[in-house]
Protein backbone atom coordinates (compact mmCIF):
# COMPACT_ATOMS: atom_id res chain seq x y z
CA UNK A 1 0.00 0.00 0.00
CA UNK A 2 2.59 2.49 1.13
CA UNK A 3 4.97 1.27 -1.55
CA UNK A 4 2.40 1.85 -4.24
CA UNK A 5 1.85 5.42 -3.12
CA UNK A 6 5.60 5.89 -3.10
CA UNK A 7 5.94 4.52 -6.62
CA UNK A 8 3.33 6.93 -7.91
CA UNK A 9 5.18 9.94 -6.50
CA UNK A 10 7.13 11.78 -9.16
CA UNK A 11 10.13 13.98 -8.48
CA UNK A 12 7.94 17.00 -9.11
CA UNK A 13 5.59 15.96 -6.32
CA UNK A 14 8.48 15.46 -3.95
CA UNK A 15 9.98 18.80 -4.90
CA UNK A 16 6.64 20.54 -4.33
CA UNK A 17 6.13 18.82 -0.97
CA UNK A 18 9.57 19.88 0.16
CA UNK A 19 8.92 23.42 -1.06
CA UNK A 20 5.63 23.47 0.81
CA UNK A 21 7.34 22.26 3.96
CA UNK A 22 10.15 24.80 3.68
CA UNK A 23 7.67 27.64 3.10
CA UNK A 24 5.64 26.56 6.11
CA UNK A 25 8.73 26.26 8.32
CA UNK A 26 10.06 29.65 7.26
CA UNK A 27 6.72 31.34 7.93
CA UNK A 28 6.23 29.65 11.30
CA UNK A 29 9.81 30.34 12.34
CA UNK A 30 9.42 34.01 11.40
CA UNK A 31 6.17 34.30 13.31
CA UNK A 32 7.55 32.57 16.38
CA UNK A 33 10.69 34.71 16.59
CA UNK A 34 8.71 37.90 16.05
CA UNK A 35 6.21 37.13 18.73
CA UNK A 36 8.60 35.65 21.30
CA UNK A 37 10.76 38.74 21.14
CA UNK A 38 7.64 40.96 21.32
CA UNK A 39 8.99 43.60 19.01
CA UNK A 40 5.72 45.45 18.59
CA UNK A 41 2.87 46.41 20.87
CA UNK A 42 -0.67 45.30 20.17
CA UNK A 43 -1.38 48.95 19.34
CA UNK A 44 1.10 48.75 16.50
CA UNK A 45 -0.31 45.47 15.20
CA UNK A 46 -3.80 46.94 15.24
CA UNK A 47 -2.61 49.96 13.26
CA UNK A 48 -1.15 47.65 10.64
CA UNK A 49 -4.25 45.49 10.55
CA UNK A 50 -6.63 48.42 10.02
CA UNK A 51 -4.43 49.87 7.30
CA UNK A 52 -4.27 46.41 5.72
CA UNK A 53 -8.03 46.04 5.74
CA UNK A 54 -8.53 49.42 4.08
CA UNK A 55 -5.92 48.66 1.44
CA UNK A 56 -7.34 45.17 1.06
CA UNK A 57 -10.83 46.47 0.43
CA UNK A 58 -9.43 48.52 -2.46
CA UNK A 59 -7.77 45.39 -3.85
CA UNK A 60 -11.04 43.55 -3.42
CA UNK A 61 -12.98 46.11 -5.45
CA UNK A 62 -10.48 45.89 -8.29
CA UNK A 63 -10.28 42.11 -8.01
CA UNK A 64 -14.04 41.90 -8.55
CA UNK A 65 -13.56 43.36 -12.02
CA UNK A 66 -11.08 40.62 -12.94
CA UNK A 67 -13.27 37.92 -11.53
CA UNK A 68 -16.53 39.13 -13.11
CA UNK A 69 -15.00 39.27 -16.57
CA UNK A 70 -13.24 35.95 -16.11
CA UNK A 71 -16.47 34.34 -14.92
CA UNK A 72 -18.20 35.32 -18.14
CA UNK A 73 -15.49 35.19 -20.80
CA UNK A 74 -12.76 33.03 -19.23
CA UNK A 75 -10.45 35.91 -20.06
CA UNK A 76 -8.10 37.91 -17.86
CA UNK A 77 -8.61 41.56 -18.64
CA UNK A 78 -5.07 42.69 -17.95
CA UNK A 79 -5.98 46.27 -18.77
CA UNK A 80 -8.16 46.39 -15.67
CA UNK A 81 -5.45 48.12 -13.60
CA UNK A 82 -5.47 50.91 -16.19
CA UNK A 83 -9.25 51.14 -16.03
CA UNK A 84 -8.77 51.81 -12.33
CA UNK A 85 -6.05 54.36 -13.07
CA UNK A 86 -8.21 56.15 -15.64
CA UNK A 87 -11.00 56.73 -13.11
CA UNK A 88 -8.70 57.77 -10.30
CA UNK A 89 -6.63 60.01 -12.56
CA UNK A 90 -9.55 61.80 -14.24
CA UNK A 91 -11.29 62.36 -10.92
CA UNK A 92 -8.32 64.06 -9.32
CA UNK A 93 -9.05 67.11 -11.45
CA UNK A 94 -12.66 67.23 -10.31
CA UNK A 95 -11.51 66.76 -6.72
CA UNK A 96 -9.05 69.63 -7.05
CA UNK A 97 -11.80 71.77 -8.54
CA UNK A 98 -14.15 70.92 -5.65
CA UNK A 99 -11.33 71.80 -3.27
CA UNK A 100 -10.75 75.19 -4.90
CA UNK A 101 -14.38 76.25 -4.96
CA UNK A 102 -14.94 75.09 -1.39
CA UNK A 103 -17.52 72.41 -2.20
CA UNK A 104 -15.33 69.75 -0.64
CA UNK A 105 -15.13 71.71 2.60
CA UNK A 106 -18.77 72.80 2.77
CA UNK A 107 -20.42 69.57 1.64
CA UNK A 108 -17.78 66.88 2.03
CA UNK A 109 -20.12 63.90 1.94
CA UNK A 110 -21.95 64.99 -1.20
CA UNK A 111 -18.68 65.96 -2.83
CA UNK A 112 -17.13 62.56 -2.16
CA UNK A 113 -20.17 60.75 -3.49
CA UNK A 114 -20.07 62.87 -6.64
CA UNK A 115 -16.36 62.06 -7.01
CA UNK A 116 -17.04 58.35 -6.65
CA UNK A 117 -19.85 58.43 -9.20
CA UNK A 118 -17.73 60.45 -11.62
CA UNK A 119 -14.78 58.10 -11.32
CA UNK A 120 -17.03 55.05 -11.65
CA UNK A 121 -18.58 56.53 -14.80
CA UNK A 122 -15.18 57.21 -16.39
CA UNK A 123 -13.78 53.77 -15.59
CA UNK A 124 -16.98 52.11 -16.64
CA UNK A 125 -17.02 53.99 -19.94
CA UNK A 126 -13.45 53.03 -20.69
CA UNK A 127 -14.14 49.39 -19.81
CA UNK A 128 -17.10 49.37 -22.20
CA UNK A 129 -15.02 50.92 -24.98
CA UNK A 130 -12.26 48.37 -24.43
CA UNK A 131 -14.73 45.50 -24.67
CA UNK A 132 -16.28 46.89 -27.81
CA UNK A 133 -13.07 47.81 -29.63
CA UNK A 134 -10.42 45.45 -28.31
CA UNK A 135 -12.12 42.30 -27.07
CA UNK A 136 -15.40 41.69 -28.88
CA UNK A 137 -13.85 41.25 -32.33
CA UNK A 138 -11.56 38.61 -30.81
CA UNK A 139 -14.17 36.71 -28.86
CA UNK A 140 -13.75 33.55 -30.89
CA UNK A 141 -9.99 33.86 -31.25
CA UNK A 142 -7.61 31.57 -29.32
CA UNK A 143 -7.39 32.63 -25.69
CA UNK A 144 -3.86 33.99 -25.92
CA UNK A 145 -4.86 36.65 -28.45
CA UNK A 146 -7.15 38.81 -26.27
CA UNK A 147 -4.53 38.55 -23.53
CA UNK A 148 -1.97 40.20 -25.79
CA UNK A 149 -4.55 42.78 -26.83
CA UNK A 150 -5.21 43.52 -23.16
CA UNK A 151 -1.54 44.27 -22.60
CA UNK A 152 -1.56 46.53 -25.66
CA UNK A 153 -4.68 48.28 -24.39
CA UNK A 154 -3.09 48.85 -21.03
CA UNK A 155 -0.04 50.53 -22.61
CA UNK A 156 -2.34 52.62 -24.76
CA UNK A 157 -4.23 53.86 -21.70
CA UNK A 158 -1.08 54.52 -19.67
CA UNK A 159 0.57 56.57 -22.35
CA UNK A 160 -2.59 58.38 -23.35
CA UNK A 161 -2.80 59.69 -19.79
CA UNK A 162 0.88 60.47 -19.77
CA UNK A 163 0.56 62.29 -23.07
CA UNK A 164 -2.43 64.29 -21.90
CA UNK A 165 -1.39 65.15 -18.37
CA UNK A 166 2.33 64.51 -18.06
CA UNK A 167 4.15 62.15 -15.77
CA UNK A 168 4.06 64.02 -12.46
CA UNK A 169 2.12 62.94 -9.40
CA UNK A 170 -1.09 64.71 -8.49
CA UNK A 171 -2.55 64.40 -5.03
CA UNK A 172 -6.16 64.25 -4.00
CA UNK A 173 -6.95 67.20 -1.72
CA UNK A 174 -7.27 66.43 1.96
CA UNK A 175 -10.80 66.11 3.23
CA UNK A 176 -11.11 67.65 6.68
CA UNK A 177 -13.81 65.29 7.98
CA UNK A 178 -11.60 62.30 7.16
CA UNK A 179 -8.75 63.67 9.27
CA UNK A 180 -8.40 62.66 12.89
CA UNK A 181 -8.91 59.30 14.51
CA UNK A 182 -11.64 57.07 15.83
CA UNK A 183 -11.32 54.69 18.72
CA UNK A 184 -12.22 51.18 17.64
CA UNK A 185 -11.88 48.30 20.11
CA UNK A 186 -9.69 50.57 22.20
CA UNK A 187 -7.27 51.38 19.37
CA UNK A 188 -6.86 54.75 17.71
CA UNK A 189 -7.47 54.41 14.00
CA UNK A 190 -7.30 57.13 11.32
CA UNK A 191 -10.96 57.76 10.33
CA UNK A 192 -10.25 57.32 6.64
CA UNK A 193 -9.41 53.63 7.04
CA UNK A 194 -12.68 52.35 8.50
CA UNK A 195 -14.59 54.72 6.20
CA UNK A 196 -12.92 53.31 3.10
CA UNK A 197 -13.37 49.80 4.42
CA UNK A 198 -17.08 50.24 5.16
CA UNK A 199 -17.79 52.03 1.89
CA UNK A 200 -16.01 49.29 -0.07
CA UNK A 201 -17.77 46.53 1.82
CA UNK A 202 -21.17 48.11 1.20
CA UNK A 203 -20.37 48.27 -2.53
CA UNK A 204 -19.42 44.60 -2.44
CA UNK A 205 -22.64 43.67 -0.67
CA UNK A 206 -24.60 45.62 -3.27
CA UNK A 207 -22.80 43.79 -6.05
CA UNK A 208 -23.43 40.44 -4.42
CA UNK A 209 -27.10 41.26 -4.04
CA UNK A 210 -27.26 42.35 -7.69
CA UNK A 211 -25.69 39.15 -8.96
CA UNK A 212 -27.58 36.78 -6.68
CA UNK A 213 -30.99 38.39 -6.36
CA UNK A 214 -31.85 40.38 -9.48
CA UNK A 215 -32.98 39.19 -12.87
CA UNK A 216 -30.03 40.85 -14.58
CA UNK A 217 -27.67 39.14 -12.16
CA UNK A 218 -29.30 35.81 -12.86
CA UNK A 219 -28.79 36.36 -16.58
CA UNK A 220 -25.15 37.09 -15.85
CA UNK A 221 -24.75 33.83 -13.98
CA UNK A 222 -26.56 32.00 -16.76
CA UNK A 223 -24.17 33.39 -19.38
CA UNK A 224 -21.23 32.43 -17.22
CA UNK A 225 -22.46 28.83 -17.02
CA UNK A 226 -23.64 28.18 -20.56
CA UNK A 227 -23.81 30.82 -23.26
CA UNK A 228 -25.78 28.76 -25.77
CA UNK A 229 -28.49 27.80 -23.29
CA UNK A 230 -28.66 31.36 -21.98
CA UNK A 231 -29.34 32.54 -25.54
CA UNK A 232 -32.13 30.01 -25.89
CA UNK A 233 -33.73 31.57 -22.80
CA UNK A 234 -33.70 34.93 -24.54
CA UNK A 235 -30.60 36.43 -22.95
CA UNK A 236 -28.73 38.86 -25.19
CA UNK A 237 -25.17 37.78 -24.47
CA UNK A 238 -23.53 40.92 -25.81
CA UNK A 239 -25.56 43.08 -23.46
CA UNK A 240 -24.67 40.92 -20.49
CA UNK A 241 -20.97 41.04 -21.38
CA UNK A 242 -21.04 44.82 -21.77
CA UNK A 243 -22.81 45.22 -18.44
CA UNK A 244 -20.24 42.96 -16.81
CA UNK A 245 -17.40 45.13 -18.05
CA UNK A 246 -19.32 48.25 -17.00
CA UNK A 247 -19.88 46.89 -13.51
CA UNK A 248 -16.26 45.82 -13.04
CA UNK A 249 -15.13 49.21 -14.33
CA UNK A 250 -17.44 51.08 -11.97
CA UNK A 251 -16.08 49.21 -8.96
CA UNK A 252 -12.52 49.93 -10.08
CA UNK A 253 -13.39 53.60 -10.50
CA UNK A 254 -14.80 53.75 -6.99
CA UNK A 255 -11.66 52.03 -5.72
CA UNK A 256 -9.65 54.75 -7.45
CA UNK A 257 -11.32 57.46 -5.36
CA UNK A 258 -10.96 55.43 -2.16
CA UNK A 259 -7.28 55.06 -2.93
CA UNK A 260 -6.97 58.80 -3.47
CA UNK A 261 -8.56 59.53 -0.10
CA UNK A 262 -6.59 56.88 1.69
CA UNK A 263 -3.09 57.22 0.34
CA UNK A 264 -1.36 60.56 0.10
CA UNK A 265 1.01 59.58 -2.73
CA UNK A 266 -1.47 60.73 -5.36
CA UNK A 267 -2.15 59.58 -8.87
CA UNK A 268 0.08 59.21 -11.90
CA UNK A 269 -0.08 57.35 -15.15
CA UNK A 270 1.55 54.13 -13.97
CA UNK A 271 -0.44 53.93 -10.72
CA UNK A 272 -2.66 51.16 -12.05
CA UNK A 273 0.10 48.65 -12.59
CA UNK A 274 0.80 47.41 -9.07
CA UNK A 275 -2.75 47.52 -7.72
CA UNK A 276 -3.80 45.81 -10.94
CA UNK A 277 -1.43 42.89 -10.48
CA UNK A 278 -2.15 42.71 -6.77
CA UNK A 279 -5.87 42.67 -7.33
CA UNK A 280 -5.29 39.91 -9.87
CA UNK A 281 -3.36 38.09 -7.15
CA UNK A 282 -6.29 38.64 -4.80
CA UNK A 283 -8.73 37.26 -7.37
CA UNK A 284 -6.56 34.18 -7.88
CA UNK A 285 -6.15 33.82 -4.14
CA UNK A 286 -9.90 33.73 -3.65
CA UNK A 287 -10.51 31.60 -6.74
CA UNK A 288 -10.80 33.39 -10.05
CA UNK A 289 -14.38 33.66 -11.29
CA UNK A 290 -15.73 33.45 -7.76
CA UNK A 291 -17.25 36.69 -6.46
CA UNK A 292 -17.03 36.16 -2.69
CA UNK A 293 -13.57 34.75 -3.40
CA UNK A 294 -12.40 38.04 -4.89
CA UNK A 295 -13.77 39.99 -1.93
CA UNK A 296 -12.18 37.70 0.61
CA UNK A 297 -8.97 37.37 -1.38
CA UNK A 298 -8.61 41.15 -1.56
CA UNK A 299 -9.07 41.67 2.16
CA UNK A 300 -6.77 38.78 2.96
CA UNK A 301 -4.06 40.02 0.63
CA UNK A 302 -4.29 43.50 2.17
CA UNK A 303 -3.82 41.99 5.61
CA UNK A 304 -0.98 39.69 4.58
CA UNK A 305 0.79 42.52 2.86
CA UNK A 306 0.39 44.82 5.82
CA UNK A 307 1.17 42.39 8.63
CA UNK A 308 3.49 40.04 6.76
CA UNK A 309 6.68 42.09 6.64
CA UNK A 310 6.67 42.78 10.38
CA UNK A 311 5.23 39.47 11.49
CA UNK A 312 7.29 37.12 9.35
CA UNK A 313 10.19 38.82 7.64
CA UNK A 314 11.51 40.74 10.64
CA UNK A 315 11.45 37.60 12.70
CA UNK A 316 13.73 36.11 10.08
CA UNK A 317 16.14 38.97 10.60
CA UNK A 318 15.54 40.66 7.26
CA UNK A 319 16.33 44.38 7.46
CA UNK A 320 13.86 47.04 6.27
CA UNK A 321 11.14 44.43 5.94
CA UNK A 322 8.48 47.04 5.30
CA UNK A 323 9.89 47.71 1.88
CA UNK A 324 9.25 44.12 0.91
CA UNK A 325 5.46 44.49 0.85
CA UNK A 326 5.27 43.91 -2.89
CA UNK A 327 7.54 40.90 -2.63
CA UNK A 328 5.13 39.40 -0.10
CA UNK A 329 2.15 39.92 -2.38
CA UNK A 330 3.83 38.24 -5.30
CA UNK A 331 5.19 35.41 -3.19
CA UNK A 332 1.58 34.76 -2.25
CA UNK A 333 0.69 34.66 -5.95
CA UNK A 334 3.45 32.19 -6.74
CA UNK A 335 2.64 29.96 -3.77
CA UNK A 336 -1.07 29.95 -4.65
CA UNK A 337 -0.35 29.07 -8.27
CA UNK A 338 1.88 26.20 -7.20
CA UNK A 339 -0.13 24.73 -4.36
CA UNK A 340 -3.74 25.70 -4.88
CA UNK A 341 -4.23 27.04 -8.40
CA UNK A 342 -8.02 27.01 -8.00
CA UNK A 343 -7.76 29.45 -5.09
CA UNK A 344 -9.48 29.32 -1.73
CA UNK A 345 -13.08 29.20 -2.95
CA UNK A 346 -12.46 28.08 -6.50
CA UNK A 347 -13.53 24.83 -8.02
CA UNK A 348 -11.22 22.69 -10.07
CA UNK A 349 -10.73 23.92 -13.60
CA UNK A 350 -11.69 20.61 -15.13
CA UNK A 351 -15.20 21.14 -13.84
CA UNK A 352 -15.40 24.55 -15.44
CA UNK A 353 -14.31 23.33 -18.83
CA UNK A 354 -16.79 20.46 -18.96
Amino acid sequence: MFKKTLARLSWVDIFLRVLQLVAAIVIVYGLVTTFTTARYSSEQWATLAFAGLAQGSIYALIALGYTLVYGILLMINFAHGEIYMAGAFSTVFLAMYFDRNGFLASNPLVAIIVLILFSAAISSGIAILLERIAYRPLRNAPRLIPLITAIGASFLLQYTFRGLFGSQFRSYPEVSILRGTWTILGFNVPIVQPVVFLAAVSLMITLYWYVERTKAGRAMRAVSEDKAVARLMGVDIDKVIVSTFALGGALAGAAGVFNGLFRPQGVFFLMGFFPGIKAFTAAVLGGIGNIPGAMFGGLLLGLIESLGPNAVLEGLGIPAANQLKDAIAFTVLVLILIFRPQGIFGERLAEKKA
Partner: protein, 237 residues
Amino acid sequence: MAMLEVKDIHTYYGNIHALKGVSLEVNQGEIVTLIGANGAGKTTTLRTISGLLKPRQGSISLNGEDLHKYPAHELVYKGIAMVPEGRGVFSKMSVQENLEMGAYHRNDKAAILSDMDYIFGLFPRLKERRRQVSGTLSGGEQQMLATGRALMSRPTLLLMDEPSMGLAPILVEGIFDTIEAINKEGTTVLLVEQNALMALSIAHRGYVLQTGQMVLTDNAEKLKKNEMVQKAYLGID
Protein backbone atom coordinates in the same frame (compact mmCIF):
# COMPACT_ATOMS: atom_id res chain seq x y z
CA MET B 1 -49.50 26.29 -44.29
CA ALA B 2 -47.33 24.44 -41.86
CA MET B 3 -46.37 26.09 -38.61
CA LEU B 4 -42.64 25.45 -39.02
CA GLU B 5 -41.22 25.18 -42.52
CA VAL B 6 -37.60 24.28 -42.99
CA LYS B 7 -36.54 24.43 -46.61
CA ASP B 8 -33.33 23.00 -47.96
CA ILE B 9 -30.98 24.19 -45.21
CA HIS B 10 -27.22 23.75 -45.43
CA THR B 11 -25.31 24.17 -42.19
CA TYR B 12 -21.56 24.01 -41.74
CA TYR B 13 -19.21 23.60 -38.82
CA GLY B 14 -16.22 25.44 -40.19
CA ASN B 15 -15.55 23.49 -43.36
CA ILE B 16 -17.60 20.48 -42.42
CA HIS B 17 -20.81 20.31 -44.40
CA ALA B 18 -23.12 18.95 -41.70
CA LEU B 19 -26.57 19.48 -43.19
CA LYS B 20 -26.83 18.97 -46.91
CA GLY B 21 -30.22 20.34 -47.78
CA VAL B 22 -32.59 19.36 -44.98
CA SER B 23 -36.27 20.16 -45.38
CA LEU B 24 -39.09 19.44 -42.96
CA GLU B 25 -42.46 20.71 -41.88
CA VAL B 26 -44.24 20.69 -38.57
CA ASN B 27 -47.95 21.44 -38.40
CA GLN B 28 -49.74 23.10 -35.54
CA GLY B 29 -50.56 20.59 -32.80
CA GLU B 30 -48.32 17.80 -34.04
CA ILE B 31 -45.56 15.81 -32.47
CA VAL B 32 -42.99 15.29 -35.18
CA THR B 33 -39.92 13.20 -34.57
CA LEU B 34 -36.58 13.29 -36.26
CA ILE B 35 -34.74 9.99 -36.02
CA GLY B 36 -31.36 8.95 -37.27
CA ALA B 37 -28.04 7.50 -36.21
CA ASN B 38 -25.32 9.25 -34.27
CA GLY B 39 -23.84 12.05 -36.35
CA ALA B 40 -26.69 12.11 -38.87
CA GLY B 41 -27.29 15.79 -38.13
CA LYS B 42 -30.32 15.66 -35.83
CA THR B 43 -28.91 17.99 -33.21
CA THR B 44 -27.47 20.25 -35.88
CA THR B 45 -30.93 20.55 -37.41
CA LEU B 46 -32.43 21.59 -34.06
CA ARG B 47 -29.62 24.01 -33.33
CA THR B 48 -30.11 25.58 -36.74
CA ILE B 49 -33.86 25.97 -36.17
CA SER B 50 -33.23 27.50 -32.74
CA GLY B 51 -30.83 30.03 -34.24
CA LEU B 52 -27.70 28.85 -32.45
CA LEU B 53 -26.27 27.92 -35.84
CA LYS B 54 -26.91 29.95 -38.96
CA PRO B 55 -27.50 28.04 -42.19
CA ARG B 56 -25.47 29.12 -45.21
CA GLN B 57 -28.36 28.32 -47.49
CA GLY B 58 -32.04 27.65 -47.20
CA SER B 59 -34.82 29.17 -45.16
CA ILE B 60 -36.64 28.57 -41.91
CA SER B 61 -40.02 30.11 -41.29
CA LEU B 62 -42.47 30.05 -38.43
CA ASN B 63 -46.13 30.77 -39.24
CA GLY B 64 -44.98 32.19 -42.54
CA GLU B 65 -42.40 34.57 -41.05
CA ASP B 66 -38.80 34.13 -42.10
CA LEU B 67 -36.66 33.56 -39.00
CA HIS B 68 -33.39 34.36 -40.70
CA LYS B 69 -33.23 37.94 -39.42
CA TYR B 70 -33.63 37.05 -35.75
CA PRO B 71 -30.67 36.27 -33.51
CA ALA B 72 -31.08 33.18 -31.32
CA HIS B 73 -32.07 35.13 -28.23
CA GLU B 74 -35.05 36.70 -29.95
CA LEU B 75 -36.62 33.47 -31.13
CA VAL B 76 -38.04 32.80 -27.69
CA TYR B 77 -40.27 35.86 -28.26
CA LYS B 78 -41.57 34.12 -31.38
CA GLY B 79 -42.66 31.14 -29.32
CA ILE B 80 -39.78 28.73 -29.87
CA ALA B 81 -38.23 26.98 -26.88
CA MET B 82 -35.63 24.25 -26.81
CA VAL B 83 -34.67 21.53 -24.37
CA PRO B 84 -31.04 21.15 -25.38
CA GLU B 85 -29.06 17.97 -25.71
CA GLY B 86 -27.61 16.92 -22.36
CA ARG B 87 -30.38 18.99 -20.71
CA GLY B 88 -28.23 22.10 -20.20
CA VAL B 89 -29.56 23.01 -16.77
CA PHE B 90 -27.69 25.81 -15.03
CA SER B 91 -26.07 23.54 -12.51
CA LYS B 92 -25.02 26.22 -10.02
CA MET B 93 -28.50 27.71 -9.84
CA SER B 94 -31.39 26.43 -7.80
CA VAL B 95 -34.31 24.63 -9.41
CA GLN B 96 -36.46 27.69 -8.99
CA GLU B 97 -33.86 29.98 -10.54
CA ASN B 98 -33.63 27.68 -13.54
CA LEU B 99 -37.36 27.90 -14.01
CA GLU B 100 -37.20 31.67 -13.65
CA MET B 101 -34.56 31.73 -16.39
CA GLY B 102 -37.07 29.99 -18.62
CA ALA B 103 -39.38 32.96 -18.16
CA TYR B 104 -36.54 35.43 -18.66
CA HIS B 105 -38.19 37.24 -21.57
CA ARG B 106 -41.51 37.64 -19.75
CA ASN B 107 -42.49 40.41 -17.39
CA ASP B 108 -45.93 39.24 -16.24
CA LYS B 109 -44.98 38.30 -12.69
CA ALA B 110 -48.32 36.85 -11.62
CA ALA B 111 -48.58 34.65 -14.69
CA ILE B 112 -45.00 33.47 -14.22
CA LEU B 113 -45.83 32.37 -10.70
CA SER B 114 -48.92 30.49 -11.80
CA ASP B 115 -46.96 28.85 -14.63
CA MET B 116 -44.40 27.75 -12.10
CA ASP B 117 -47.17 26.15 -10.07
CA TYR B 118 -48.31 24.40 -13.24
CA ILE B 119 -44.78 23.04 -13.78
CA PHE B 120 -44.65 21.91 -10.16
CA GLY B 121 -47.97 20.14 -10.74
CA LEU B 122 -46.48 18.43 -13.79
CA PHE B 123 -43.29 17.48 -11.93
CA PRO B 124 -43.96 17.30 -8.16
CA ARG B 125 -40.34 16.19 -7.72
CA LEU B 126 -39.16 19.64 -8.74
CA LYS B 127 -41.37 21.28 -6.16
CA GLU B 128 -39.78 19.26 -3.39
CA ARG B 129 -36.37 20.40 -4.59
CA ARG B 130 -37.09 23.94 -5.62
CA ARG B 131 -34.32 25.40 -3.42
CA GLN B 132 -31.81 22.70 -4.28
CA VAL B 133 -28.82 23.44 -6.49
CA SER B 134 -29.62 21.87 -9.86
CA GLY B 135 -26.22 20.25 -10.30
CA THR B 136 -27.11 17.88 -7.48
CA LEU B 137 -30.29 16.58 -9.16
CA SER B 138 -30.42 13.14 -10.75
CA GLY B 139 -30.46 12.81 -14.53
CA GLY B 140 -34.20 12.27 -14.64
CA GLU B 141 -34.87 15.26 -12.43
CA GLN B 142 -32.59 17.40 -14.59
CA GLN B 143 -34.56 16.34 -17.65
CA MET B 144 -37.77 17.36 -15.89
CA LEU B 145 -36.18 20.67 -14.99
CA ALA B 146 -34.98 21.33 -18.53
CA THR B 147 -38.45 20.51 -19.86
CA GLY B 148 -40.15 22.63 -17.22
CA ARG B 149 -37.78 25.49 -17.92
CA ALA B 150 -38.57 25.39 -21.63
CA LEU B 151 -42.31 25.38 -20.84
CA MET B 152 -41.89 28.44 -18.64
CA SER B 153 -41.45 30.49 -21.80
CA ARG B 154 -44.96 29.42 -22.91
CA PRO B 155 -43.73 28.10 -26.24
CA THR B 156 -45.94 27.34 -29.20
CA LEU B 157 -43.18 25.16 -30.63
CA LEU B 158 -41.06 23.02 -28.33
CA LEU B 159 -37.82 21.58 -29.69
CA MET B 160 -36.55 18.61 -27.71
CA ASP B 161 -33.12 17.13 -28.23
CA GLU B 162 -32.68 13.55 -27.02
CA PRO B 163 -34.78 13.73 -23.86
CA SER B 164 -34.20 10.02 -23.24
CA MET B 165 -30.42 10.23 -23.28
CA GLY B 166 -28.81 8.54 -20.30
CA LEU B 167 -32.06 7.84 -18.48
CA ALA B 168 -33.38 4.58 -17.06
CA PRO B 169 -36.23 3.09 -19.16
CA ILE B 170 -38.85 3.80 -16.53
CA LEU B 171 -37.88 7.47 -16.46
CA VAL B 172 -37.89 7.61 -20.25
CA GLU B 173 -41.48 6.45 -20.23
CA GLY B 174 -42.38 9.18 -17.76
CA ILE B 175 -40.74 11.83 -19.94
CA PHE B 176 -42.55 10.63 -23.04
CA ASP B 177 -45.86 10.63 -21.18
CA THR B 178 -45.18 14.22 -20.25
CA ILE B 179 -44.39 15.14 -23.85
CA GLU B 180 -47.72 13.68 -24.91
CA ALA B 181 -49.50 15.56 -22.16
CA ILE B 182 -47.84 18.84 -23.11
CA ASN B 183 -48.80 18.25 -26.71
CA LYS B 184 -52.43 17.56 -25.80
CA GLU B 185 -52.52 20.95 -24.11
CA GLY B 186 -51.63 22.60 -27.38
CA THR B 187 -47.85 22.78 -27.67
CA THR B 188 -46.41 21.60 -30.94
CA VAL B 189 -43.34 19.40 -30.47
CA LEU B 190 -40.37 18.62 -32.67
CA LEU B 191 -38.59 15.71 -31.06
CA VAL B 192 -35.12 14.47 -31.90
CA GLU B 193 -34.47 10.94 -30.66
CA GLN B 194 -32.15 8.02 -30.95
CA ASN B 195 -34.71 5.89 -29.21
CA ALA B 196 -36.73 5.58 -32.41
CA LEU B 197 -39.29 3.14 -31.09
CA MET B 198 -40.33 5.35 -28.21
CA ALA B 199 -40.33 8.43 -30.38
CA LEU B 200 -42.47 6.83 -33.08
CA SER B 201 -44.92 5.55 -30.49
CA ILE B 202 -45.95 9.07 -29.45
CA ALA B 203 -45.28 11.02 -32.66
CA HIS B 204 -47.77 11.74 -35.41
CA ARG B 205 -45.18 11.90 -38.15
CA GLY B 206 -41.50 11.24 -38.49
CA TYR B 207 -38.47 12.06 -40.57
CA VAL B 208 -35.39 9.93 -41.01
CA LEU B 209 -32.09 11.71 -41.33
CA GLN B 210 -28.94 10.12 -42.72
CA THR B 211 -25.55 11.87 -42.98
CA GLY B 212 -27.07 15.30 -43.26
CA GLN B 213 -29.88 14.45 -45.62
CA MET B 214 -33.55 13.59 -45.22
CA VAL B 215 -34.08 10.11 -46.62
CA LEU B 216 -37.59 9.27 -45.55
CA THR B 217 -40.74 10.80 -44.17
CA ASP B 218 -44.11 9.32 -43.36
CA ASN B 219 -46.63 9.07 -40.58
CA ALA B 220 -45.37 7.34 -37.48
CA GLU B 221 -47.33 4.12 -37.87
CA LYS B 222 -46.03 3.53 -41.39
CA LEU B 223 -42.47 4.39 -40.41
CA LYS B 224 -42.63 1.78 -37.68
CA LYS B 225 -43.48 -0.82 -40.30
CA ASN B 226 -40.96 0.40 -42.84
CA GLU B 227 -38.34 -2.25 -43.49
CA MET B 228 -35.40 0.12 -43.64
CA VAL B 229 -36.42 1.85 -40.40
CA GLN B 230 -36.96 -1.50 -38.69
CA LYS B 231 -33.53 -2.68 -39.70
CA ALA B 232 -31.55 0.43 -39.00
CA TYR B 233 -33.27 2.03 -36.05
CA LEU B 234 -35.60 -0.43 -34.39
CA GLY B 235 -33.21 -3.37 -34.27
CA ILE B 236 -35.65 -5.69 -36.01
CA ASP B 237 -34.28 -7.99 -38.71
